[in-house]
């Protein structure tokens, strides 16, 4: 097991190096620079050009690359050009919100998707099965930012029940904090609900076909007991494997959802930094997100290998 983990860790190093090189190169190709954002609409092109120099943005590509990697290997992601803080600080300030959002999104996803999937499997091929699965598919088909906007119209403009956006820190009260995350978590979850419900359904179907379930049923055990005790437990195994995918979806979705709901999370930090050309933040942010993604997948694989030892031989 230890060897498996080490091999996977070593394998992820080239991946992360490529990630950092790709993000660095892309950002170097992007025209425009943070000086124009800082200077604002009334500054002349010439003034901005001079400002670039004052900000040290005129260094050649290779110099910047060497400096960046040099700092990176010392664990330093550099300093934001626009935010007046280090990239590490900017990211760590934001991480909590995104993780809270992802966690809530995940809980909502599980709470809806697993029962729906189980239900559909039990009623396989009935109209109810098809209805549940079509709704799940419709959830996957909605652009989540659009869903977010529509939920704002419904729940905060029309019904006036929930805030339309903005983040309330936990320090300002648990309930207001929670309220500020309800709509975002739901908007974020809708995409995964469809995905996870379908996976749960098919995993469940497979388990229900197994002999021991048939035996248990034949023995006259209560249906609810069979489903709950035996089937569900086994059906959740493949579900674990998609946690990696769900996590990546949540991170990706957070970019848009945090923008729709004005939440100062990591996704929004990345989106605004791209629009304002804050290169160090973009590079650091992409690297950190990619690293999280790689390590979550690694953790999922380890978990899976623990459950199913056959995989370790591979």
């Amino acid at each position: 097991m230890a060897r498996f983990i080490v091999v996977r860790l070593v394998n992820s190093i080239p991946v992360l190096l490529i990630v950092s090189l790709v993000s660095f190169s892309i950002m170097q190709m992007v025209p425009g620079d943070p000086a124009s954002i800082m200077a604002g609409p009334q500054a002349t092109a010439r003034e901005v050009e001079e400002m670039r120099q004052a900000l040290g943005l005129n260094r050649p590509f290779l110099d910047q690359l060497v400096i960046w990697y040099g700092n990176l290997f010392q664990g330093d992601l550099g300093r934001s050009i626009l935010l007046g803080r280090s990239v590490g600080q900017a990211i760590s300030e934001r991480l909590g919100i995104t993780l809270a959002l992802a966690l809530f999104g995940f809980i909502v996803t599980l709470a809806i998707a697993v029962p729906a999937g189980v239900f559909a499997a039990l009623k396989q091929n009935s109209w109810m099965d098809q209805a549940v699965m079509t709704i799940a598919l419709a959830g996957v088909s909605l652009p989540n930012f659009w869903l977010g906007l529509m939920l704002i119209v419904l729940f905060s403009v029309v019904l006036d029940l929930l805030p339309a956006g903005g983040y309330v820190p936990v320090a300002d009260g648990l309930w207001p904090w929670f309220k500020s995350l309800i709509l975002p978590s739901f908007s974020l979850a809708m995409l995964q609900v469809g995905l996870l419900a379908r996976i749960t359904r098919s995993a469940m179907l497979e388990v229900l076909r197994q002999d021991y379930i048939r035996t248990a049923r034949a023995k006259g055990l209560a249906r609810i007991y069979v489903v709950g005790k035996h089937a569900l437990k086994n059906a959740l195994v493949p579900v674990i494997t998609v946690i990696g995918i769900v996590f990546s979806l949540l991170l990706s979705g957070s970019v848009v959802i945090e923008t729709v709901y004005s939440l100062p999370g990591l996704g929004r930090l990345l989106a605004t930094s791209i629009l304002s050309r804050d290169y160090p933040v973009i590079q650091g942010g992409l690297l950190v997100t990619a690293a999280m993604f790689v390590f979550v997948n690694l953790a999922v694989d380890v978990l899976y290998a623990l459950i199913d030892p056959r995989l370790r031989e591979d």
Binding site: A43, I81, E93, R268
Partner: protein, 523 residues
Amino acid sequence: MSPRITRRQFGGLAAGAGLAAGLAAGPGSSPAQAQRRGGNIVFAAEAQPPTMDMHFSTTIATRNIAMHMYEQLVTRGENNEVIPELAESYTESPDGLTYTFKLRQGIKFHNGKTMTSADVLASYQRYQRIGLSRSILGPVASMTAPDPATFTIVLRQRVPVFIDELSQFAVPVTIHPSEEMGKEGNRIDPIGTGPYQFGEWVPDSHVRLRRYDGYTADTRYPGTNGFGGNKTAHVDTIEFRYVREPGGRVAGLETGQFHAVEDIPARAAERLRNNTAIQIHPLRFFWQQDAWMNHVKAPTNNLLVRRAIQTGLDMEEIMTVAADGQFDLQPGFQYPGNPYYVTDGQEFYNVNNKDRARALLREAGYRGEQLVLLTNSTFQSMYNAGVSVTEQLREIGMTVRMDVFDWPTAQANQRNREAWNLWFTGQGTGPAVGPFAAYVNLVSPQNQAFEPDPVLDGFYNEMRTLPTERERIAAFGRFQRRAYEHVHFIKFGDLTKVQAARSTVKGFRPYRIPRFWNVWLEG
């Protein structure tokens, strides 16, 4: 049509009043009733500040916040007149070459250090080195601090408008502790002498300022006077919250979540006028919406094509969509009431004659060469203006391509003379910007049009150097006429910026930039 809309909506401000002069009660007005200390004011802003370094930015988002923290030697009063702020007094030598500033004593920075002329000198030196509008310090021969209370500037040549330019607040020469001034651009700690000090900045969310208890009020004035005057910090904290969506700002204002907001959409403003808990403050002539012309790239290298564009456009339609129905149509490059307001060249403004435009295109020998409009998706009014102009120019038979980029890319393309024919932008024309800063891009060496116009350069030079204001205004008239005749840019109209505040915010007087000193919360 639309100036009428504007006036109907906002209840007829005197046309000649200008915004600051028209809206403020004048320098003498001071809050008289019992002011309440404490509380937190929340202001919802439409954009977030790109920096806290005022030497580096023209953005309103930065100014909204930073003008509570920083002060200048000389600034502008309620009616746009030059007034001393950190300077006790200033004198100009008879030859107009030496300016001597006596500093107020006992002023403390937010870090507790007492301000001396060394700090002023260092701040000015930094501005001269890297400040965005350092061209205003271009004529400076030397700057010295002969004693801790004195700061002098010696010019190489006489510049009659020098003090006007020093006191501008588009990119103000703010005073910071000398030890900060050696730092690289944008790396300074936000330390100033103002009544509020920096609290925290959470990007994408808010900036919070705290009352500075070591503030020394300027007792020469009875109360608020423009950006200067006698300032008292009543509330404990001011929070500038970034709320991008206009509807969100309005909703927050209505529920009381926000105390004051900027940029209210026209339809919401109309509704809020009936709400006694809220006061609407339209700032007319806040911003001039326009597009600059490239004189080098075909087809706009041809004056007749430029004239055709100028002649064919319907400014009312452009401004309706660009300014969301809140605007004025008038030909001057300054706003009515400003001393420099002239109407020279008005026959070229808002002609809106599509047939004549087509005739001009024929005369020009225009054969469908592609016209490239360069606009951006960051500033909504510029984007909207671009959409409208594209449609109108297609109507007179031009082949138009509209390029839309985010602001940094758009500005990178703007530097390329082959990349565009019309560049969508705008200028602040309100108090303190004046004709000099707003139009410096038209003349050498900036040369927005990529081709020097010696005639225009000459008029601009006269505007700044003729000895009397009357002559300078006349020069500005010639400048404006020339800009129209040669179509250096196309003015669309003047945008009205609408601020609003809840009635519980006492002592709030609208100005170009919201001011929260001498302001307190009721109840």
